[in-house]
């Protein structure tokens, strides 16, 4: 489906098709295509058709059908949906039916968006390849023997495959941007607090974000416009006003100062580096002023992240104890047996590894040496960015050191997998907005993503750069 939010709106308002027809086709297509990629875990057929009818009724009554009218949206399965199974990619929640909707889902449906299904992901969003899902890996639509990236691999694959026009993912260490780059779509991690996390299953609360994915920057920005803003159900959601993102997309970036962090070009695969530098060349021709900058603490980000994120995860995942969330094992034994056996059977290897590491770094004798130390390093990483943004308007960098790798290629080496998150983790640690925008293919035909980072609440600048690049390169 080559549709955009704007083309669907035009089709609906000019009566080329109804939302009902369009949604039925989108659902049929998504279900038909799904065996190729395994992008969806659950389809929301009944709910989608009801939402489509509501859009048609509004149009018939001459009312505004909303900014996302009739747009098929895929939602990552760590975001809860009332009455619709939400698995978090875990065997533990295979049959979990949430009793409420996430705020982001309520907002996108209120704007006329049609949630067509829930997408596959790494278990509890822990992974960089989507191979940690209890329901099988997702295959990259660009190259079916390769991973789509993770953890929002299903959402990125759904958009790349064209079965959804936009999607919601979640990002804690790169889980929206990295799959977006691997699948050749745009993916946005907004400022921490910009989008309510009410209804986002908690992984690492000081790092978790909900973010949009789309074929184009414009559509990703339009989805963010709808879901951003204060929500009284999430005390960490920011009350700063949401600017008009689309209005700022003029294509003019003349005079914008962009920083190239030298630490992000060390250890970069040459086929990826070439595409990034070519994209920087395009931005220069558009009138951007590019200068080298340094983010000196980058090399410490992975270590700090895997302490902080796992410490928070070990606490957040304590709730899956066999009491409230559908799955219980060890029913013949004691309460302690029930907890331990439920968790041992329910969690996959990566979740266990992270729960163990997080519990270890928080345990007596290690708390200061690991956890507090990591938080101090986090301050240094955030300061690196604050310093950089005194001199530049945005930072451009790679998203991932290499393009999509083969399924199975990295599963046996967790540290190598963690290290691949090097360019995305720092943005989450600092809480700044960052996104991936497609910047061409490697000689082997695999998509590469250009990362654009801006200062807190400065999504507008980030979108301007991405949109201008897209216009100039297509």
């Amino acid at each position: 489906m080559s549709h955009t939010i704007a083309s669907i709106r035009e089709g609906l308002l000019k009566k080329k098709f109804s939302a009902e027809e369009f949604t039925r086709q989108a659902l049929e297509r998504a279900e038909r295509e799904n065996p190729k990629t395994n992008a969806y875990l659950t389809f929301a057929s009944v709910r989608a058709m009801a939402a489509a009818e509501a859009v048609d009724r509004k149009i018939a009554a001459g009312e505004d059908p909303g900014a996302l009218a009739g747009v098929p949206v895929a939602v990552k399965d760590v975001i809860v949906t009332k009455g619709l199974r939400t698995t978090c990619g875990s065997k533990l929640l295979e049959h979990y039916i949430p009793p409420y909707d996430a705020t982001a889902v309520i907002r996108l449906e209120r704007a006329g968006g049609i949630m067509i299904g829930k997408t596959n992901c790494d278990e509890f969003a822990m992974g960089s390849s989507n191979e940690n899902s209890a329901f099988g890996p997702v295959r990259n639509p660009v190259a079916l023997d390769r991973v789509p990236g993770g953890s929002s691999g299903g959402s990125a694959a759904a958009v790349a495959q064209g079965t959804a026009v936009v999607a919601l993912g979640s990002d804690t260490g790169g889980s929206v941007r990295q799959p977006a780059s691997f699948c050749g779509v745009a993916g946005v991690t907004p400022t921490y607090g910009r989008v309510s996390r009410y209804g986002l299953t908690a992984f690492a609360s000081s790092l978790d974000h909900i973010g949009p994915l789309a074929k184009t920057t414009r559509d990703a920005a339009a989805l963010l416009q709808v879901i951003a803003g204060r929500d009284e159900m999430d005390a960490t959601s920011a009350s700063a006003p949401v600017p008009d993102y689309l209005g700022a997309l003029t294509g003019d970036v003349k005079g914008l100062k962009l920083g190239l962090p030298r630490e992000y070009f060390e250890g970069l695969a040459s086929d990826t580096g070439d595409r990034i530098l070519a994209a920087v060349g395009v931005l220069k021709r558009l009138g951007c002023l590019v200068r080298d900058i340094s983010l000196p603490h980058t090399q410490y980000a992975i270590a700090a992240y895997y302490i902080i994120a796992t410490a928070e995860a070990s606490a957040n995942l304590a709730r899956y104890d066999g009491v409230r969330y559908t799955t219980r094992a060890g029913s013949a034994g004691t309460l302690t047996d029930m907890y331990r056996e439920t968790r041992d059977e329910g969690f996959g290897a990566e979740c266990k590894r992270r729960i163990m590491l997080g519990t270890y770094v928080l345990s007596a004798g290690y708390y200061d040496a690991y956890y507090i130390k990591a938080q101090r390093v986090r301050t240094l990483i955030a300061r690196d960015y604050a310093e950089a943004f005194k001199n530049v308007d945005a930072i451009v960098a790679p998203v991932s050191p290499f393009p999509a790798f083969k399924i199975g290629e990295k599963v046996d080496d967790p540290v190598a997998m963690y290290l691949s998150d090097i360019y995305t983790i720092t943005g989450d640690l600092a809480g700044i907005p960052c996104m991936s925008v497609p910047c061409g293919l490697t000689p082997g035909g695999l998509p590469v993503g250009l990362q654009i980072l801006a200062s807190h609440f400065n999504e507008t600048t980030m979108f301007r750069v991405a949109d201008a690049y897209e216009r100039a390169s297509t």
Binding site: A304, L357, Y360, S363, K373, Q375, Y418
Partner: protein
């Protein structure tokens, strides 16, 4: 080795995970690799650097409180709907106290 099998078993107990023997061995190896990488942080002198627990913005944009007013919450049956075992309006678990 930075972490022994015995420590892995102790941490598993703290985390309420029942690891099998083969899992313990694999876990010790994986954690050892990760902790070796994490040691990198000791290269940095962080004396006097404040720990950052959360992203906080200069103005009071986060940590705002909502108005305290009554509103409907989940019903008892909705709250229990996903419980593996429930009864009489409660979550049921194995007996904790022996009479």
């Amino acid at each position: 080795m930075k972490i022994t099998d015995q420590e892995v078993r102790r941490v598993a107990e703290l985390a309420s995970l029942a690891l099998r023997d083969d899992e313990v061995e694999r876990m010790a190896k994986d954690l050892d690799n990760i902790l070796s990488h994490i040691d990198k942080l000791n290269e940095l002198d962080t004396t006097g650097v404040e720990p950052m627990a959360q992203v906080l913005f200069e103005s009071d944009e986060t940590a705002t409180l909502r108005e305290d007013r009554e509103r409907p919450s989940l019903s008892n049956s909705e709250a229990l709907a996903n419980a593996p075992v429930s009864g009489s309006g409660y979550f049921k678990v194995p007996r904790v106290i022996e009479r």
